[in-house]
């Protein structure tokens, strides 16, 4: 079935370093991808999105890369800060759907060491 998964369950980085969080998706018909950040005790928070007709999109300190050939998505965080510590999820929406259904991966815990 459809699934969005992550390679690494936990990522530990030093403050100031760049972080890269990876995600693999299985549905080649996926049309839209989103990265969410979830802090303890809170709901997921939108970080950045990318449509399937793009391969790169940049935001403030974050960049999402999409490789449709290998069905891989990554989130790059520049100059990682302690406030970036959270669980990061990639999510995908099936193409052609008229719903808001999101398919989430398991998540990667990002731990920023001071």
């Amino acid at each position: 079935g459809e699934s969005v998964g992550l390679h690494l369950p936990t990522l530990s980085v030093q403050e100031g370093d760049n972080s890269i969080i990876n995600c693999a998706y299985s549905n080649s018909a996926s049309d839209y991808f989103i990265w969410y950040k979830q802090e303890s005790g809170k709901g997921p928070q939108f970080i950045i999105d990318i449509r399937s007709n793009m391969d790169k999109r940049q935001g403030q300190r974050v960049t999402v890369l999409l490789n449709k050939t290998v069905k891989h998505l990554s989130l790059q965080i520049a100059a990682t800060q302690p406030g970036d510590s959270a669980v990061y999820f990639c999510a995908d929406t099936p193409w052609g759907g008229a719903t808001n259904k999101l398919i989430f991966g398991t998540g990667t815990l990002l731990a920023v060491q001071p």
Partner: protein, 114 residues
Amino acid sequence: DAGVTQSPTHLIKTRGQQVTLRCSPISGHKSVSWYQQVLGQGPQFIFQYYEKEERGRGNFPDRFSARQFPNYSSELNVNALLLGDSALYLCASSTGTGPFYEQYFGPGTRLTVT
């Protein structure tokens, strides 16, 4: 502006009981989606309602039901609770329905079934 609100924050129920969770979307948002997040996993889609009509349903048993009211708030009901229903229940709202509408998540209701 207030974000998505959910009530109650925490809830403890016994197996076999019934529970009702409530969600108030962001003002102006007509779509509400419900997700179940088991500890250590990504959220799983349960339902979406748009303009008081069900627009999508995930792979959950009929014990799960929901509705949306004229003011666009929503309730999620779960009957005959099982231990496996213990999870964080998230509500997300958006202005429309379809894959490209950004969804805003509430803080969730933590349900514990004993």
